[in-house]
Amino acid sequence: MNGNGWTPDRPIVSLKDVHKSFGSLQVLKGISLDVMKGEVVCIIGPSGSGKSTLIRCINALNDIQQGSITVEGQEVHDPKLDKLALRKKVGMVFQQYNLFPHKTALQNVMMAPLLVLKRNREEVERRARALLAKVRLQGKEDSYPGELSGGQQQRVAIARSLAMNPGVMLFDEVTAALDPETVKEVLVTIKELAGEGMTCILVTHEMGFARELADRIYFTDKGVIVEHGPPATFFDRAKDPRTREFLSQIL
């Protein structure tokens, strides 16, 4: 499958002692975490603790100063890295959707497969329509992002990422900007994805969702991973006082 000899019994995403600073501000101070294919991993933690930075480092939107990140065995921060190859493997969904406002929902989904993968238009369009149907946006193909609700836009964004057939999906607080009513429709979509075996790394504040869906939960604070474990252990028997305090505030 893959030139690096990566096999699915090894972590699909692996971070080892990752350090990242913005100037003198140290944001990540030695983060290590492994994600296996098909796993759902949630990252929670207070605002400003470096969750977004962590997730952005995984698809090289941010660089790192120390440590290593591999995706399917490929070193992400290798200066010789073909970022294109990496980004074909990793899909990312943002808090603010970040759709292309001048393109319809269908065009948003079709653009990358056409331009980046250089696929044939008919095939791309067929798949894009199928993906929009999958995220329950049938009939909205020709709407522009500005004509869609936040939840609808976010589902277009998910379909847009899926169109690249990624091996891993990164979600950075994708429901944080949504109305409470529309949060659920996006969560349902993610749940279906996870159910199909998609590897997902999610930063989220939806604790119920994390408890139900996650294989493991990581709690970050001030640039380090304080504690991690399966949801049952994590929510009910957190060891670290920082975790317990955070959970008591949020639950």
Binding site: N59, L61, K83, L84, R87, K88, V90, G91, M92, F94, Q96, N98, L99, F100, P101, H102, M111, A112, L115, V116, L117, S143, Y144, P145, G146, E147, L148, A157, R160, S161, M164
Partner: protein
């Protein structure tokens, strides 16, 4: 009918010596006005096209990694924005024109490869282009970084991101300012007069030098034609702005 029209203005010129509408009854002057108008239209259209191309290329270069490239563009803008276009025309034609090679179509006459019309187009395009670079730069800066990141995370190259995301969005933001600059450009084509480009002003002055009695009518013609030309440009730009409007986006 046409004879009566010509006769009316011939009589008017005899009765009112300051109102000699000579181009309405004399074919030669009518031809001069028309050929001047045609030259003005060609000049304006060519400069419009090139100055917009320069603006787009310049704004792209300002976003380049190379510091040298950015400094070059900055220097270009300073020079062309802060010196009179009149002087620029003289400089291009007399200073640079002397340095360019000539050819001899008939073995006698030495013809420079760039004519005065050519120099006018080059000079005025660079002049208006300097403003366009700034206009497009402001447009580019108005495109959210996050939208570009979404494109990168889908595997778009920098060039693809610029071509398909940044530029179309920046153009929409730039249209009002571009509108102003292009209106100015149409009016500035009159300055090509100084290097004897036979555009509308040049022909008009030639006519009133030959027939001082035609001076008032010629000025009238100049005002009316430039009002119409600028009106056309504004109408075209407004139509373009409407065509570019994205449903549900912006104002």
């Amino acid at each position: 009918m046409l004879d009566a029209f010509a006769q009316f203005f011939r009589d008017l010129a005899a009765d009112a010596p300051r109102w000699n509408f000579i181009f309405f009854y004399s074919e030669k002057q009518a031809g001069m006005v028309l050929s001047g108008l045609w030259m003005t239209i060609q000049l304006a259209a060519a400069c419009l096209l090139f100055s917009v191309a320069i603006g787009i290329a310049g704004a792209a270069m300002q976003g380049a990694h190379s510091r040298l490239l950015r400094a070059l563009v900055a220097g270009y803008i300073q020079f062309f924005r802060n010196t009179p276009p009149f002087v620029q025309l003289l400089f291009f034609y007399f200073a640079l024109g002397r340095l360019t090679p000539t050819y001899s179509p008939d073995g006698w006459l030495e013809v420079p490869i760039v004519s005065n019309v050519g120099w006018a187009i080059i000079s005025l395009s660079f002049f208006a282009g300097a403003f366009n670079v700034e206009i497009f730069r402001a447009g580019v800066e108005a495109v959210p970084k996050s939208t570009q990141e979404a494109a990168h995370s889908l595997g778009f190259t920098r060039l693809q991101t610029y071509r398909y995301i940044v530029l179309p969005l920046a153009l929409r933001v730039s249209i009002p300012a571009l509108n102003n600059n292009l209106v100015n450009l149409v009016k500035t084509t009159t300055q090509a007069f100084v290097i004897a480009v036979p555009e509308l002003l040049y022909e008009s002055i030639t006519i009133w030098n030959d027939y001082p009695s035609a001076q008032n009518p010629m000025m009238l013609v100049l005002f009316v034609i430039y009002l119409a030309l600028v009106g056309l440009v504004v109408m075209g730009m407004n139509r373009w702005e409407r065509a570019m409007r994205i449903p549900g986006y912006g104002g």
